[in-house]
Amino acid sequence: MYKLLALGGIVVLSVGSFMSCLGAGALATAGDAVLLLGCGISTWGFCYWQPDSQA
């Protein structure tokens, strides 16, 4: 589940990045929210799962 949150969060913040930088008006504002949400979700996920964390 945490792997899904971590990687899914990256996808969400990626979408938000382009929305906020390339969009205008409401789209850009929504993009800002999506970007911040994606950062939060991926941080939550990576706190409990990290790639190649198995020895």
Partner: protein, 431 residues
């Protein structure tokens, strides 16, 4: 909480490729590199600049890989590695210099972030000072916890920064009249190719030859080490300087803070600058903590780092983020640090035959190796005296050559007689 600051990292504590690389790439992904790219774009054509970026980062990748392999094989921090060439007390000299420079970078970047907050919220000088102080304190929090927490920061920040850089560049090009207009931009031709390569080298010669060891000592294989170095420097650093150059060419400005605000990208600006400054500064402070732990063995790493954070808060009030101070430091580092790296590399790969003894906590070293210090100064002298090629390379090669020559001629042993059985590896013992 120990992060193996005074011993080798044991095999069962080593970490995977992405965990190490996320910290290293996060470290490399830095606002100052973008500013350097924007500043260089104002002084030369984009085509020349991109070649300078590629050549400079290729050289940095080679240096960082060689240093990282030493750290991976031994599990030692950079400060501990220096003992084999500089001696137990002599190693404190580069360590203190190293910590001083890292502190300088930490202060510049934290102050820059505070400045950003002050510009956007139109704060008075008093509140700008408070913002800079708060930046210095908050940016060090993850470094206090160690590598695992820094990995979290890196794993989140890197994709965020990449996406925001791409989106920012696309927006800047779009607003600047399209790619054809940006590609046709040419700076005032005030900077030549060699100077530009020297500046690229200066952006990371320090970290590529010193700090990289503090992260890659946790690596599990030499392949991971080399791949990580290439990812951080050849790919990411080239990318970040290039993005800075494109945005600078599109906007004809060097101040990235003003560029981002001018584009109306407020939230993305804050997210981008927070992530890249936070990751790099965490790594800076972490490395300072490790280094000064070897200089002051009776003080814990956490206590040292808290002290540094407080000191940095005071120094940030002098506003070091102005471009003049940044470029002056970059140019200075390109001459002072490489001789040190040259000495360490020749010592390990040539004089010690690629194998330092283990269990450094049980080894007894000579106090000072005056020949290492002499070679270091000579390397700086070579860089200043020879106006051919790249000053960094000249300094590194000059110091390495002089050091090897003197050590072979004098047959100096760096381990004391009670560790004589370990000194057999050192080639200076051969007739």
């Amino acid at each position: 909480m120990s992060d193996y600051e005074r011993t080798a990292v044991p095999r069962d504590a080593r970490r995977g490729f992405w965990q190490i690389t996320s910290v290293w790439v996060g470290y490399v992904f830095i606002l100052v590199s973008m500013m350097a790219g924007a500043g260089m774009a104002a002084g030369m054509s984009l085509e020349t600049l991109f070649w300078a970026i590629l050549v400079g980062n290729l050289f940095l990748t080679v240096v960082s890989s060689l240093m990282s392999i030493i750290a991976y094989k031994t599990g030692y921090t950079f400060a501990l590695i220096c003992r084999f060439s500089f001696g137990s007390l002599g190693a404190k000299i580069p360590a203190i210099m190293y910590a001083f420079i890292q502190l300088g970078w930490y202060v510049i970047q934290a102050a820059l972030f505070g400045h950003l907050i002050a510009v956007y919220f139109e704060l008075s000088p008093f509140f700008e000072a408070l913002a800079m102080i708060a930046s210095c304190l908050f940016m060090g929090l993850f470094a206090l916890k160690g590598m695992r927490w820094m990995s979290v920061v890196g794993l989140v920040s890197i994709p965020t920064m990449i996406m925001l850089c791409l989106a920012t560049a696309m927006r800047a090009v779009q607003d600047g009249g399209g790619w054809a207009a940006v590609a046709a931009f040419s700076g005032e031709e005030t900077m030549d190719f060699m100077t530009a390569v020297g500046l690229v080298l200066g952006t990371w010669i320090f970290g590529a030859s010193t700090t990289v060891a503090d992260f890659n000592r946790f690596a599990r294989s030499s392949k991971h080490v080399v791949a990580g170095c290439a990812t951080g420097l050849l790919i990411v650093n080239s990318f970040i300087i290039g993005v800075g150059a494109i945005v600078g060419a599109a906007s004809q400005q060097w101040d990235l803070v003003e560029i981002l605000f001018g584009l109306g990208l407020v939230i993305p600006a804050f997210v981008l600058l927070t992530t890249n400054l936070w990751t790099t500064n965490s790594a800076n402070l972490y490395s300072v903590g490790l280094t000064l732990s070897s200089v002051f063995p009776k003080t814990s790493r956490q206590t040292i780092m808290i002290g540094i954070m407080i000191l940095a808060s005071v120094l940030s009030l002098f506003k070091p983020y102005e471009i003049g101070a940044v470029f002056a430091m970059l140019k200075g580092l390109s001459i002072i640090v490489p001789p040190l790296t040259g000495i360490v590399l020749i010592d390990f790969y040539f004089l010690w035959n690629r194998q330092y003894p283990g269990h450094i906590e049980n080894l007894s070293f000579k106090t000072v190796n005056p020949y290492a210090i002499l070679a270091w100064l000579a390397g700086i002298g070579v860089a200043i005296s020879f106006d051919i090629g790249f000053a960094s390379l000249n300094a590194m090669a000059g110091a390495a050559f002089i050091y090897a020559l003197i050590m072979k001629a004098t047959h100096l042993q760096m381990l004391n007689t009670d560790n004589e059985h370990l000194a057999g590896h050192q080639k200076t013992q051969e007739a």
